[in-house]
Each structure stands twice: as C-alpha cells, then as structure tokens.
C-alpha cells in the first residue's frame, strides 16, 4: 500500500463520509413535509424505535442506578459525606449518564434495526418502488424516523433516569438505611431544574437526533447486499457511540 492510500483511508475517506452524511441530512430536511400521513408514520416509528427499546432501557437504568449508588456510597462514606449521595447520583444521571447510556443502548437496539430495515428496503427495491409510485422515500421513510428519534430518545432518557433513581433509592434507602426524605431533600435542594435537568434533556434531544440521523444514513447508503447491510449496522453502532461521546464533550464544555 502506498502512503497516499493510507492517508486516504485514514483521513480522506472519513471526511468524505461525513460530507455525504451532511448532504443526505440537508436533502432530507429540505424535503420535510408535515401532514396526517407524516404524523401517523412518525408515531409508528416512535413505537418501533421507542416502545421496543423500553424494556432494555428500564432494566439497564435500574441496574445502573443500583451500581452507581453502590460506588458513590463507598466513595462518599470515606469522606463522611453520604448525605451528598442523592445529589451526586442525580447530577451524574441527569447531566451525563442518562443521556449517554440511553442513546448508546438506543443505537444498539433501535438504530441497528432502522439501518438494517432501510438497507433491506434498498436491497429489495422497496425504495425504488416508492420512487416509482411518485412517493418521496425521503419524506416517507427518512423523515418519520428522524423525527421519531428526536421524540423517543428524550422520553427514553427520562424513563432511564426515573429507573436509575429508583435503583438508587432501593440501594441507599432500603439497603443502606439512608433516610429517604433527606435523600430526596438533598436532590431537590441542589439539582438545578434549568442547568442540570433541562440541560441533560437538551443533550438527550441532540443525541436522539444524532442517533437516528446516523442510523438512517448508514441504511440509506449501504450496499444493497447482505454483507453491505451487516457492515452498515456495525457502522451505525460504532459511529453513533463516537459521535455521541464527542458531542457530549463539546456540549458539556459549553453548558458548564
């Protein structure tokens, strides 16, 4: 391999891919239309992407809350600061762990299936069929999935946070005997609605958009073969994880 092609693989190709993804997004956004069909199709996608991810999100949320509280309790008790347990748990959930973990689970559960679905639609000429019926596939296939992601991910993040707090309460209040009202009282006194909570929700919406955009894009641009679709689903998970963590850092830097 020559140096040129190595540079190509490392730098030029990813930049090209990004360019294509952005162009794809602009095309999709420019052809947005809002009507009854779009609304119903978006709701259908909220079901497929959101409701079907609910169970994994609830289970993961509960155990993340449990283990996080366990770790925080152990650390905080060394400083005799266990009264800060609720605050530390709620802040780390609302600001970081809720949005980031939820969207990564979402990419694995819903993102991959969106990618595979669109890839298969391409392979079986369903997208061509739409085109031929004078139905814009951007409007019919891409738009509802983009919107559904922006709606579903924040809702999933909220469910995740509630379940994680529940896990925290189960561990600290029921197992470690920390006073329940003071646990909540500390959270209420220190977690800012705007900066901490709504900031986290803003992140959730941005991540939801990122995850659904990438899932749809990789499906759309996949090679219409079994191998191509398999590769595209892998790309969806990896790229979403990296993009989300990178965006998370940038957003956090601006929001703090």
């Amino acid at each position: 391999m020559t140096t040129g092609s190595v540079t190509g693989k490392l730098f030029v190709d990813p930049v090209k891919e990004m360019g294509r993804a952005v162009l794809f997004l602009f095309t999709a956004l420019s052809r947005m239309r809002f009507g009854k069909t779009q609304f119903l199709e978006t709701m259908r996608q909220v079901y497929f992407m959101g409701v079907r991810s609910l169970v994994i999100i609830m289970i993961s949320g509960f155990f993340v809350g449990l283990v996080l509280t366990l770790q925080l309790y152990d650390t905080l008790s060394r400083f005799g600061a266990t009264e800060a347990l609720g605050t530390a748990l709620a802040l780390s959930l609302f600001r970081e762990l809720g949005p980031v973990l939820t969207v990564i689970l979402f990419a694995g559960r819903a993102g991959t299936s969106v990618t595979a679905e669109i890839g298969l639609m391409k392979a079986t000429e369903q997208l061509d069929a739409l085109d031929l019926m004078a139905i814009d596939p951007m409007e019919r296939i891409v738009q509802p999935r983009l919107l559904a992601g922006i709606l579903a991910v924040p809702a999933l993040v909220l469910v995740f946070n509630v379940m994680a707090l529940l896990g925290g309460v189960v561990f600290s209040v029921f197992m470690m005997g920390i006073d329940g009202p003071s646990f909540w009282g500390n959270i209420q006194a220190t977690v800012a609605l705007g900066r901490d909570f709504m900031g986290g929700m803003f992140k959730a919406a941005v991540f939801g958009f990122l995850a659904s955009w990438l899932a749809v894009y990789f499906g759309w641009s996949s090679k219409p073969t079994g191998e191509g679709v398999a590769l595209a689903t892998t790309q969806t998970v990896i790229t979403t994880a990296i993009a989300v963590l990178l965006t998370d850092f940038i957003l956090s830097a601006f929001m703090l």
């Binding site: 079986t124 369903q126 069929a129 031929l132 019926m133 004078a134 139905i135």
Partner: protein, 270 residues
C-alpha cells in the same frame, strides 16, 4: 410536441446512459407501440433493466431523448416527473412489496397517497385489484407469508392501483414455477388487452415471449441488435440473436470471461 405523435407510446432516440465510468446503453433507439405488449430481451447485464429505469427517469441519460406519451422524460422537473410516474405502473424484479404492510395496505398505499378517496371506496378498489390477480383472500397477509409468485401478483395489483396507462415489467418470470409462470404470462396479456394499456416486459426468458409479446427487441452489448415480431426473430440470421434465441452457451457472447491464453496460464510459473 404533437408532431412527435405517431403510433408509438414510448420512444427512445439515441439514448446513452453512463453510470460512473461504465457505459450501460449507447445510442439506443427503441419504440414501444401503443396498446401492444413489447418484450425487451437480452443476456444478463446487457442493460435491459436500465432501459426501464431510463423510461421512468430513475437513471439520468447523458445523450439522446426519451418520449413517453407527449412528454420528454429527460426534460421534466421533479414534480412533472412524479406526475408522469403516476401514469406508469411498474412491477419490480421481486415485487418490492413493503414488508411492514399487509397485502391490502400495500395495494392501498398509492391510492391513499395520491387520491382523496374515502376509505370505503379505497377498500372496494383494492379488493377489485386483488381479485384481478386472484389474491383477494390474501388481503390481510403480510408479504413474508406469501410465496414469491404471489408476492409478485400483489405487487402487480399495487402497480395497477392507480389505473396506469403504461405497465412496465422488470423480469416478471424469474424464479417462478411453471404454473405461476403460466399465470403471469396470461395476466400480462389480459391486463394489456382488457385495460387497453401499453406494456413493456423485460425478460431473458426466450421461450415464453411468443406467448404474450407483439413485438420484441433484443439488446446485447449496450444496443439493440435485433427487433421484430416473435416469428420474425426466429428466422433472423444474426450470430448474437441466434445464440440467444437458441440458448447456446458459447458464440458471439463468449462463455469465457476474457483471460490470457489457457495453456500459457497453466504452465506459467509463479
């Protein structure tokens, strides 16, 4: 534009299609007579499907012109192109049904999208179309619950939903058993005659063609190499046509992919 009006519903003149660096069609002339079934035949990879895609405006052409009715496909805006497509029904290779919709909803989709008919009327239209392809009983089934042949018939019902005046078929016989094949041949002929529309069938199934086609084109190596009625084609004395019609493995279309000399290749030390 009316001076172009003759008996041909669709006309390709000097059409060249280039995909990337590859020339798929080169200077192709092809005419589809009104109200007839025209077959476009040729070996795999000869650009048959591209002819259909050029007619529907799915692939851009780099030279020539395509007339469908009284519009030129290559000059249409996106909106006009959609208007034209509404008058064309196309059956894609494996049906291309939407897997998340039932047969009924698949057929109803173009009606719901392009008409403002009340749901009760849509139901009647859909059931009529499904009945025409003999699958009214499968209305509530999903594509995965039906055989390949049935999928294609549902897709045919969907293509007919908006009462098109042109039907395009892309390899409608691939992978069908003899019974389904017979049914498909008969359907294509009947739909054309009963509805009085114009049909184009792309196929490599030489034996079936005389049973439904009025006129045939044989495409090879990016251009039309022969045309005529099925009977005329039988007697054409052209190497490629002869090989294709008779189904000979070797001839002007070589069996072997271009390669260096066989003996030398084997003996050469690496």
């Amino acid at each position: 534009m009316n001076d172009n009006k003759n008996n041909n519903r669709i006309e390709l003149r000097g059409v060249t299609v280039q995909l990337g660096d590859r020339v798929v069609l080169e200077g192709m002339d092809l005419a589809v007579p009104e109200g007839k079934v025209t077959a476009v035949m040729g070996p795999s990879g000869s650009g048959k499907t591209t002819v259909l895609k050029a007619i529907t405006g799915q692939v851009p052409i780099s030279a020539g012109e395509i007339r469908v009715g009284d519009v030129f496909v290559n000059q249409l805006s996106a909106r006009k192109l959609n208007d034209m497509r509404r008058n064309i029904g196309m059956l894609l290779q494996n049906g291309a049904l939407f897997t998340d919709l039932t047969s009924f909803d698949n057929v109803a989709l173009p009606l719901r999208e392009h008409t403002r008919l009340p749901e009760t009327l849509i139901r009647k239209v859909v059931l009529t179309k499904l009945h025409a392809v003999g699958l009214r009983g499968a209305a509530e089934l999903y594509p995965r619950e039906l055989s390949g042949g049935m999928n294609r018939r549902i897709a045919l019902a969907r293509a007919l939903a908006l009462d098109p005046n042109i039907m395009l078929y892309d390899e409608p016989f691939t992978g069908l058993d003899p019974i389904s094949m017979g049914a498909a041949v008969r359907l294509i002929r009947q739909i054309n005659d009963v509805l009085g529309i114009t049909s184009v069938v792309v196929t490599h199934d030489v034996t079936e063609v005389p049973r439904f086609a009025d006129y045939c084109y044989i495409i090879s190596d990016r251009k039309v190499v022969a045309q005529g009625t099925p009977a005329e084609l039988e007697n054409i004395d052209d190497g490629v046509v002869h090989q294709f019609i008779q189904g000979l493995p070797d001839g002007p279309v070589p069996f072997h992919y271009p390669a260096p000399d066989y003996t030398r290749d084997l003996l050469e030390r690496h």
